[in-house]
Amino acid sequence: MHKIILAGESSILIYFGDKIDASLPENIANFANELKSQYSELIIDQTQSYTSLLVNYDLSKIDYSKFSDKVKALLNNFQFSDSAKAPSIIHIPVYYGFETGLDLERLLSEKDLSLDEFIEIHSAGEYLVHAIGFSPNFAFLGQVDERIQAPRLATPRIKIPAGSVGIADSQTAVYPADSSGGWNIIGRILLDLSLNNPENIHKFKTGDKVAFYPITRDEYLSNGGKL
């Protein structure tokens, strides 16, 4: 079930499963904390993703085989839970409009949905933070309702404005900063999630939940939203 593989000269990758699963983010985060607290002097950094944890360790202090053994021993004794405890929910306002949702018009016609139906479906979801990465503060959120899933664009956009909300297959996410990218853009948020506010790096944690709620064009604009 658990597997440890070589990732680099000072890193290993631990797999906790082979399928995306709602119980994994919290379990992996707990394991990462436990590993860090037991071997803080050996561990440089950790990158959590859907089913795995990348651990970067100090090769001047311990080698690959000894470090893997320590991790293996900890994995064998670790209590994994089946049911996630109630996570904290972060509520984010979105203006779902054609000016901000660059792909919205196309998606409505592909999915044969009205704008209201589309908004209803996307904002009804409570999405789990499965991973943070790709770029700073970019949280991968799942799972998106099948009725509004859409594959990445064949040709990524050069520039997606900061705050844009996107969908890629079963995932949804907010682009924290202006970025290139291939997700289908359906709206834009009011919050600044960029590194302009350094505290933003603590905004999302794996295992948290995120919910979106719609705001009107007027609400968006009167609160400083840009088109």
């Binding site: 593989i5 070589l6 990732a7 680099g8 000269e9 000072s10 890193s11 990758l13 082979d18 995306i20 440089i44 950094d45 950790q46 990158t47 959590q48 993703s49 859907y50 089913t51 795995s52 944890l53 990348l54 970067n56 100090d58 090769l59 001047s60 080698d63 690959y64 991973a131 943070i132 990465g133 790709f134 770029s135 700073p136 503060n137 970019f138 991968f140 900063a177 202006d178 960029s194 590194l195 350094p198 790096i201």
Partner: protein, 302 residues
Amino acid sequence: MSIKVINPGFLSSIQDYGRITHASYGMSVSGVMDEQAYMWGNYLLENHFNAAALEIVFGSVTLEVLNDSVICITGADLDFKINNKRALTWHSVQVYQGDVLSWGVLKSGVRGYLCVKDGFETDVMFDSRSVNLRENIGEKIQANEVLKCSKSNDEINHFMAAKFIPNYEQALTLRILPSYQFNEFSLEQRELFFAQTYQISSANDRTGARLSGVPIAKTKSKMISEGISYGSVEIATDGLPIILLKDAPTIGGYPKIGTVFSLDLAKLAQKQMGDNIKFELMDIEQAQKQRAEFNKFFAIEY
């Protein structure tokens, strides 16, 4: 004490050893592309291993010294001059207020380093001075900008013996660890990967080096995204390798055939579009031994 930018060149930025503890927030490791040249520059100035340097790509940079300072130029040969006269490189050098430092056209290699005694004192952003343009952390240097560093006078006289100065014209074979999905590639795919000579394509920057060559048929196109190690070699949907470097995303979803040994990535940092690249296998024990020796020599703390 400081150095003023007269001509910023194409892409010169302040870099240090890297932002090595922020991957969990989605931040790249960042930092210098050629760790060898950078470490030698700091070593010859008796600096801390993490002292920030100016990384200059392709040359065409002019700076004015505002206060006396001890500097050391390493990395690519970019025709470095002081007051328009060829000056020593890989050597600690005293420069004086009013001196003009210039880098002209590229003669050998790609990336040059300007190390100063005790390092540049630009802003620390998320525990590092390294600029990362992809992440909007810091900016490349601008004309008229003043780069702060402390005043220093020559009590140091260190240099690298000529025979140890790297020859960036040498053919490069990158040693690679059989990591990640190595075993999921078929024997034929691996043979094709190790037998051929790739070329560095035009898509070659601090994020990654894309190679051109004969595509190896892919095993699976997309997988569940997972954490990326520095030097990971992704095989993209087109069957061609991308070597992920300092500014690469922290998470990715392409299968990876292995991970290039870090000290070979330092050599790769001095190669450019059209240069040939080959791969050969390396085992983890060798890689860890060599890197540990490097870390010990340069007093790298992690």
